[in-house]
Symmetry: C2
Subunit: 303 residues, 2 copies
C-alpha cells in the first residue's frame, strides 16, 4: 500500500521531470512551469508519505530524502506563489480603485482628493507589481538553477530508486494515518475557534497570531495525503482546507503590502493605499478563520 503509493508518485515525478526537460524553458515556458508544479506536487506527496509513515521506512535513507524533497518543493513553489500574491493584490487594488470614485461618495471635499486617492492606488499597484515581479523573476532563476544542480540530480536519482523499488518495511499504515488525523484534530482544538466563530472579532488585525493556523494547514495536508495512501475519504475537509489556503494567501499578501510600504521615498498617497490594502488583507485573514471554523464544524458533524 505505502510502496505502491511511493512508486506511483515517484513515477509521476520522473515523468514531470522528463516533460520539463523536453519542453525546456525557452521552447515552451508555460509547459515548463506546469511540469515544475507537477514535480513539486509529486515531491510533496512523497515527502508527506515519508513523514506520516516514517516507522515503515528505512529512516537513515528516508529522512535525508524528505529534507531534500522539502527543499525542492519550496524552491519550485516560490515563483508560483509570487505570481499568485501579485494577482491577489492587484485584484484587491482594483476593487479599492473601482469604489474610490463611485458617484455615491459625495462627502469627498473635492475632485482633486479623489484624483489623489486614485493616483495613490495606481502607484501602489505599480510598486507592488515591480517588487513582486522582481521577486518572481528571482524565484524563477533560483528554480532553474536548482534543477540544474548536482543536489537536484542526486535527489532525482533517489526518487528513481523509489519508483522501481521503494524501501518499505512492514507495519500498519492505518495506525500511522490515524495518528496524522489525531495530530490535526489536536491542533485544531488548540485554535481559538470560539473567537473565530464570532464574525467581526478583529482578532486578525495583526500578523502575530497566524502561525498556529498555518501549522494546522500543513497538518490538514498531511492528513489528506495520508488518507490517499490508506484509501480514506477526506472530501468533507476540502472546504476547511481551502479556507486555510486563503488564510495563508491573504496573510502573505498583507505582509507584501506592508513590506512595500517600507520602500523609501514613496508618496503619502501610495503609503495610504498600501495601508488600506494591508488592512483589507488582514480582514480576509479574519474572514478565512471564520470560514474555516464553520467548515470544520460541518465536517465534524458530517463524519
Amino acid at each position: 500500500m505505502l510502496a505502491g503509493h511511493l512508486n506511483a508518485h515517484a513515477a509521476e515525478f520522473l515523468r514531470a521531470l522528463r516533460r520539463h526537460r523536453e519542453g525546456s524553458d525557452a521552447a515552451d515556458p508555460a509547459q515548463a512551469a506546469r511540469s515544475a508544479l507537477d514535480m513539486r506536487r509529486a515531491a510533496r506527496r512523497i515527502g508527506s508519505a515519508l513523514h506520516t509513515f516514517r516507522p515503515m521506512t528505512d529512516t537513515a535513507w528516508a529522512d535525508p530524502l524528505r529534507a531534500e524533497l522539502a527543499w525542492l518543493g519550496s524552491t519550485l513553489g516560490r515563483e508560483h506563489a509570487c505570481a499568485a500574491r501579485l494577482g491577489r493584490l492587484l485584484e484587491a487594488m482594483e476593487r479599492l480603485g473601482s469604489g474610490a470614485s463611485v458617484p455615491g461618495q459625495r462627502d469627498d471635499p473635492s475632485a482633486a482628493s479623489v484624483r489623489e486617492t486614485a493616483l495613490g492606488i495606481a502607484r501602489a499597484g505599480a510598486l507592488l507589481e515591480r517588487q513582486l515581479t522582481l521577486a518572481r523573476t528571482r524565484a524563477h532563476s533560483a528554480a532553474l538553477q536548482a534543477l540544474g544542480s548536482a543536489r537536484f540530480h542526486a535527489l532525482a536519482d533517489a526518487v528513481a530508486l523509489l519508483a522501481s523499488d521503494a524501501p518499505v518495511v512492514p507495519g500498519d499504515p492505518y495506525e500511522h494515518a490515524a495518528r496524522a488525523a489525531r495530530r490535526l484534530t489536536e491542533a485544531v482544538d488548540a485554535l481559538p475557534l470560539g473567537r473565530a466563530a464570532r464574525p467581526y472579532n478583529a482578532e486578525a488585525a495583526h500578523d502575530g497570531q497566524d502561525s498556529p493556523w498555518h501549522h494546522v494547514r500543513l497538518l490538514l495536508r498531511l492528513h489528506r495525503y495520508a488518507a490517499d495512501v490508506t484509501g480514506g475519504d477526506t472530501g468533507a475537509l476540502a472546504e476547511a482546507g481551502g479556507a486555510l489556503d486563503r488564510h495563508r494567501d491573504a496573510a502573505d499578501a498583507g505582509a507584501a503590502a506592508a513590506a512595500a510600504a517600507r520602500t523609501a521615498r514613496i508618496a503619502p498617497a501610495t503609503a495610504y493605499a498600501l495601508g488600506v490594502l494591508h488592512s483589507s488583507q488582514r480582514h480576509e485573514v479574519e474572514a478565512a478563520r471564520f470560514a474555516f471554523q464553520r467548515a470544520w464544524r460541518q465536517a465534524v458533524v458530517a463524519r
Copy 2:
C-alpha cells in the same frame, strides 16, 4: 397626549437652558456641556414630535420651529461628536499600536521597520488629535455663539410657549405613530439586509453606500420618539438602534481618517497608518450592518 409630551420636553429644555446659564462656561464647563446636551436632547424630542404628529399641529407655526430646533440640535451636537470621534479613533490607533510590536510578529524584517510603523501610528494619532481638537474648539465656539444669538432667543421664546400652552389640534396620534413605524419598516426592507447577513461580505469597503443606513437610523429614532408619545414599547429595537449609531460613528471616524491623510506633507508612515485606520473603520461599518440585520430580525420575531 401630544400636548403633554410637548409640555414636558419644552419644560426640560427650559430647565437645561437655565442650568446652562447658571453653571456658565467658565465656572463649570462640564456642567455647561451636560446642560447643552440636555437641551439638545429635548430639542430633538420636540422636533421629532412636531414632525411625526405634524397633522395635529398648527403647521404655519410648527414647521419653522422644527427647522430652528434642527439647527440648534446640530449646532449643539457637533462638539460632542468631534470629541467622540477623536476618542474612537485614538482607541483604534491604540489597538493598532499595541499589536504592531507584539513579539509574535517575527516576520518583520527588522526592528527599524517596527519602530517606523510605531512612529507612523503615533504621528497619525497626533495629527488626528490636532485636527479633531481644532474642530471641537470651533464647534464649541459656534455653540456658544449660537446660544447668545437673537435667533436662539426667538427659539427659546417659542419653546417657552410650548411649555405652557402647546398649540395642538385634535387628531389620532396612534395613526401618526403607526405611519412612523411603517416608514421605518419600508426603509429597512429596502436595505441590502441579505448581503449584510453574510459576514465578511466586504460591501462596506467604500463610503458611497452609507446614506440609506444613516436614513434608517433617523427613522428608527423618529419611531422611538413617536412611541414615547403614544406609550408604545420600542425596547426590542434598542440593539438595532445601537448598531446604527455605531455604523454612523465608524463611518464618520473613517472619513476623518481619510481627511487627515489628505493633509499636505505628511510622512509615508503616517499616511500608511491612516490608511489602515480608515480601512479598520470601514470594517466596523460592515460589522455594524451585520449586527443591525441580526438585531432587527430578532426584534421582528419578538414582536
